[in-house]
Amino acid sequence: MQNALWQRGTWWPALAIFLALATITFYLILIASNWIYLGLGDTFYFFTQPRMWQRFWLTVWTSTVSTCFSLIIGIPAGYALSRFSFPCRNVFASVIDLPIVVSPAVIGAFLFGITTRFPFDLISEHYNIYIGRNVYGVLLVQFTVTCAFCARLMKAAFDSIPPKFESVSRSLGASNFRTFFKVVLPMAKNGIMASMIVVWARAAAEWEGLMLFVGASEGKTDIMPFAIYLDWNGGMMGWVVSMTIVCILMAVTAMTAMRLIGGKSHVW
């Protein structure tokens, strides 16, 4: 029997599944031990504090706004990278990969210098908007980090749609613009929704860039990951642990939603 097991190689899937389960268990234990450390009474206390939900909504709305901006740029850009050939296309594709492979800290440091210089200084002076240590800074960092990421994911979403539908649509007389909105977008809907959620989760998790570029003012720019850092520095372990739990729940919800919507799309 054992010999047959070895010969047919069934031990290999068994081992692989075991390792997968072990990894998941490991993470579950991490979350559970954090929660046990916090205790039931404290969980109730911290989760009913307005401070917790202020930060939660701040995180939700900033990352939603920056995701929207990313989508406005990312969808056409991803479409262009997927369908059209234009000069230096490969160079553009590599540039768009930069914010994904470069550490967000680099982006924070980079934004730092740029907002006080031409042409951004003129824009902020004209509109009396002060980009940097306020919520605009948060949005700018989240947008910079996620925009390229978004274009990349959108390219993958459009890549999964065969181009022949577009040629058919165009041959029947539809304009390029109409083809895009009436044929390509509806077909890519699932991929786009799935990518949107990933982009959103990425924006909500952004911290390093904020640390360098924005700094934290309480209640204004301290989105959840940043608030965790601040409270860790203030020795407030209760807040740290309870916000960690909220962050994990947020991430799990987002990823599950992505999987449910995305189905078998090849985005991720």
Binding site: Y45, F46, G113, G132, G215, K220, N233
Partner: protein, 314 residues
């Protein structure tokens, strides 16, 4: 179709328009360790000056010089060590700083150990005992590391303590958290750090001759957009009212604490603060102990805050 696109953009941009305001916004670079007391000061200040907003940019002190150098923004500066302020002054960023008068508060060094004091530490010399797991700060990245070296060198046990070191911390909360989670047997931190962990650590005052007093300066910056307001806020931070707020968070606030040229105490001016701190740590752990101005001094609010939950929060 187009109408829908325009509508969506309008919806997306709506919160941005609401955020633009005409308030005078002071940008205050402050060490993340001063957060709790500065937030209280900010609340009072904004209440009295409704046209002003104080916007803190909390960071670790090490980040500030790079930040100010590149951004050239900021009205006030209050780092966790005078060293950083002098660095800024050297580069010409500081508008007004008088080292004689512009010190609203001080840090004082204390020993902390995990709850129950497992290694039975009672004085500085115990750090040299073989087998004691000591947490030290890295002198390159945090000011407390410099004080560890100074203190143990003065006590003549630096060599042995280095052998006992099991943690080289990059910032002071790391030391507090390590003691809280029993990863080390003892370390030295500021009184303001120790007060955050009253439930989970024991606090042991250091004898005056080895007790360090660290100056915490505040200055206005050259790039200040609102010079008058910044000066006024600085004056408020130096007022007795604001000093009292610092005192509630375990800072030492006596305007004249006699120290030697290295910064060690010359007498027992800070003894009362140390007694209050020890009493506060006992009161958080034992609910039956009375909490009032006589038993724990100005730390009453801090004790009540930490009694509310098992894990610290506010």
């Amino acid at each position: 179709m187009w109408l829908r696109v325009v509508l969506w953009i309008a919806i997306i941009l709506a919160p941005l328009a609401a955020l633009a305001g005409d308030e005078k916004e002071l940008l205050f670079h402050a060490g993340v360790g001063q957060r709790s007391s500065l937030n209280e000061i900010k609340d009072i200040w904004e209440q009295r000056n409704p046209d002003q907003r104080v916007n803190f940019s909390y960071k670790g002190s090490g980040y500030f010089i790079a930040d100010i150098t590149r951004s050239r923004q900021g009205d006030l500066f209050m780092p966790g060590e005078e060293f950083y302020l002098l660095q800024a002054q050297e580069r010409g960023f500081v508008h007004h700083y008088n080292p004689e008068t512009d010190i609203p508060a001080y840090f004082v060094t204390v020993i902390i150990t995990p709850k129950g004091n497992p290694a039975n530490i009672t004085k500085i010399e115990d750090f040299a005992r073989p087998g004691v797991r000591v947490g030290l700060g890295n002198p390159k990245s945090c000011a407390v590391g410099i004080w560890h070296e100074k203190t143990f060198k003065k006590a003549g046990i630096w060599e042995q303590v280095q052998k006992n070191a099991t943690l080289s911390a990059k910032c002071i909360p790391e030391l507090g958290n390590a003691a809280q989670h029993r990863a080390i047997d003892a370390t030295i931190v500021w009184s303001t750090t120790a007060v955050l962990y009253l439930r989970d650590v024991e606090i042991i005052p250091i004898e005056p001759s080895l007790r360090g007093v660290i100056r915490l300066p505040v200055a206005t910056l050259k790039f200040a957009r609102f010079k008058e307001e910044a000066e006024a806020l600085k004056a408020f931070i130096l007022s007795p009212e604001a000093r009292h707020i610092f005192h509630k968070h375990a800072y030492a606030v006596d305007p004249k604490i006699p120290v030697d040229d290295q910064g060690f105490c010359l007498d027992g001016t800070t003894d009362k603060d140390m007694r209050d701190l020890v009493a506060a740590a006992a009161a958080v752990k034992d609910e039956s102990l009375p909490v009032n101005a006589e038993t724990v001094g100005d730390l009453v609010e801090e004790v009540e805050r930490q009694r509310k939950t098992v894990r610290a929060g506010s």
